[in-house]
């Protein structure tokens, strides 16, 4: 990829921290399950600055309906599920809302759907949760994924259909557990999806968190990760494709609160068409106690046409010098002509070469999932998206 615009990397050029909107360290935000603790939503606030109010107008109310779509679960027998109330031990344990819509959703969903992966789970434990909605009223859903200590599992949340959904997803990764969570946003073109993920990692645990946003008029996902014990390892991966008029916003946050944890954040997106808009704001905080931290975050965007816009803002706050490594990079660019030439020189038409290059650009994320069935599902979705839109 040729890197043309908005390069933000330490030592190369200045970041776009955004004039007119006050800077905010993400951990300084209000965190509460009470919507009344939050100010009214305004684009003057950093966390809402990119999202025009008319895209989320149905969410500017005091309560949402409970999600009324289908929840279909495919899981091995030893994975238990239940609807749990706020009095349950695991309810609200991974984190609390950090914005008003997330808090309203928290209040509106009376119960949370718990998926529990037991300590003695089989190595190939795979859980598939399909959410299908045909309902356009603003609704709320609360999920809790609990990977018990020493467990291994993969949880896929597949969102399809037509919806306006505010979602809270809690992810608990127990000591020594290894969990992969994949959330796929494959909505119809009118859908709005605002999703907050809260992950809490135990000692020597590993979380691979993968976000795939393809369909939906407006998708905003805010995954936050907190380490509670040393030895935690998190990989936040994301992939998105925005067409004309789509707004896809991703705001990963990693809070290195304890020593010797590792984080890698890699999000890649492709954009095309008038007013295709993607936003990536990647926050990493290394607190004073987090000695030995190793972190790197990366966002790359491929702009396929004029009229599309990719905002990319990496933020790294470091409160201790005793770290193993910390870096970030962000680049947005256009097609690499040499890649197209190479493919065309093998007889592949220009339009197919473009599709193949974009496919590969996004597929790099898919290749890191290492669950063949899911890779195949996503490969198919990307190919369908490209066949429809890239020429």
């Amino acid at each position: 990829m040729t890197e043309l615009t908005q390069t933000a990397q330490h030592g190369l050029s200045a970041h776009s921290h955004g004039a007119g909107v006050p800077l905010q360290i993400r951990n300084a935000r209000v965190r509460s399950s009470k919507s009344s603790d939050f100010e009214a939503i305004s684009q003057r606030e950093e966390q809402w600055r990119y999202l025009p109010g008319d895209r989320i107008s149905d969410f500017l109310v005091d309560a949402f309906d409970e999600f009324a779509g289908d929840l279909a679960l495919k899981a091995p027998d030893d994975v238990k599920t239940a609807w749990i109330g706020p009095d349950h031990d695991l309810f609200g344990k991974a984190g609390l809302p950090e914005d008003k819509i997330s808090a309203v959703a928290w209040e509106s969903a009376q119960a949370a759907y718990l998926i529990n992966i037991p300590s003695d789970s089989k190595p190939d434990c795979q859980v598939q949760l399909s959410l299908v909605s045909e309902d356009r009223s603003a609704s709320a859903l609360h999920l809790v994924i609990n990977a018990e200590h020493h467990s291994t599992g993969v949880v896929v949340i597949d969102h399809r259909g037509d919806a306006q959904l505010a979602e809270n997803v809690e992810i608990l990764v127990g000591d020594e557990a290894q969990l992969t969570v994949i959330t796929i946003q494959d909505w119809t073109e009118n859908s709005v999806h605002l999703s907050s993920h809260f992950a809490k990692l135990g000692r020597n645990s590993k979380l691979k968190h993968i976000v795939v946003s393809l369909g939906g008029k407006t998708v905003r996902l805010t995954p936050s990760v907190e380490f509670t014990q040393p030895g935690g390892d998190v990989e936040l991966l994301g992939m998105y494709f925005a067409d004309a008029g789509q707004h896809l916003e991703h705001r990963p946050f990693v809070d290195h609160a304890v020593a010797n944890c590792k984080s890698r954040v890699t999000y890649k997106g492709a954009l095309q068409g008038e007013k295709a808009h993607t936003i990536w704001v990647g926050d990493v905080l290394i607190r004073k106690a987090a000695e030995g931290t190793d972190t790197y975050e990366l966002n790359r965007n491929l702009l396929l046409t004029d009229g599309a816009r990719a905002d990319s803002v990496p933020n790294l706050e470091i409160e201790t010098g005793q770290i193993a490594g910390a870096g970030h990079a962000s680049a947005s660019g256009r097609f690499d002509d040499e890649q197209l030439f190479y493919l065309q020189a093998r007889g592949i038409s220009e339009s197919q070469a473009r599709r193949l290059v974009v496919f590969g650009f996004l597929n790099e994320i898919v290749q890191q999932i290492s669950v063949p069935e899911i890779e195949a599902r996503l490969t198919e979705s990307i190919e369908a998206e490209l066949a429809r839109s890239v020429d």
Partner: protein, 250 residues
């Protein structure tokens, strides 16, 4: 019978100082089954010739013709040229992240043939070609040219040559960066493609050592964007002994 004719070819590239003419009237005729070595010092225009035949947009043809069996190649797009039977083995093959070799080969084969190859015979053909080039079967799972060593890149280029079966192949310094063992393996691949498809080869090289393994029928010495001398294999031997000094000084 196939024939590739290059007539009075003039090619320029855009530089910061304006257009610069690199090829200044090149004439070459290659028939199928023939191997022509293009030799010359650095900067003589050898690679420009290769890229101009393939249609790289950086190179502007200002005069002359390239004809493939009488068809005007210069009017064809890059992919049309490949589908018409021209192949360029690149000196610096580019990485295509996220695209596996197997996906790439199948897509290229489908494009060249106009239909997808039948799966089982295709897999067998790929496997056999890879064995011939001493490539590990896991290679097809890797992304195109990503993390390939110099030798792996060149083997991958020749693998494509064997599988895509063009009429004419331009090998742009395929020998550069190869140790003797890899050079032999790669040369055998070229010789197999010649034997199997009666391929015409334009072998671009700075050195004579690859000519020990791929026997040229004709040798053309390129100097300053023109053919300075032509002859048979004996010309290569003379270059081996004398170098390019006498052309450059002249």
């Amino acid at each position: 019978m196939s024939i590739l004719q290059i007539k009075n070819l003039h090619v320029s590239v855009e530089t910061e100082q304006g257009a610069k003419e690199i090829l200044r009237g090149v004439d070459l005729t290659i028939r199928n089954g023939e191997t022509h070595a293009i030799m010359g010092p650095n900067g003589s225009g050898k690679s420009t010739l290769a890229y101009s035949i393939a249609g790289h947009p950086k190179y502007e043809v200002t005069d002359g013709e390239i004809l493939l069996d009488g068809e005007n190649v210069l009017e064809m797009s890059v992919d049309e040229r490949a589908r018409a039977g021209l192949f360029l083995a690149m000196q610096y093959p580019v990485e295509i992240p996220g695209v596996s070799v197997s996906n790439f080969l199948r897509t290229a084969k489908t494009a060249i043939d106009g239909e997808a190859p039948a799966l089982r015979p295709w897999i067998k053909e790929v496997r056999e070609a890879m064995e011939g080039l001493r490539m590990d079967s896991a290679f097809t799972e890797r992304n195109v040219n990503e993390g390939f060593s110099g030798g792996e890149k060149k083997r991958h280029e020749i693998l494509q040559l064997e599988l895509l079966k063009p009429k004419f192949a331009v090998l742009d310094e395929t020998d550069s960066g190869l140790d003797v063992d890899a050079l032999k393996v790669v040369s055998e691949g070229v010789n197999r493609a010649k034997a199997a498809n009666d391929l015409g080869v334009l072998l671009i090289t700075h050195y004579t050592r690859i000519l020990k393994y791929i026997q040229p029928d004709f040798v053309h010495v390129f100097v300053a964007g023109q053919v300075a001398e032509e002859g048979g294999p004996e010309l290569a031997e003379r270059l081996e002994a004398e170098g390019y000094d006498r052309y450059v000084r002249a």
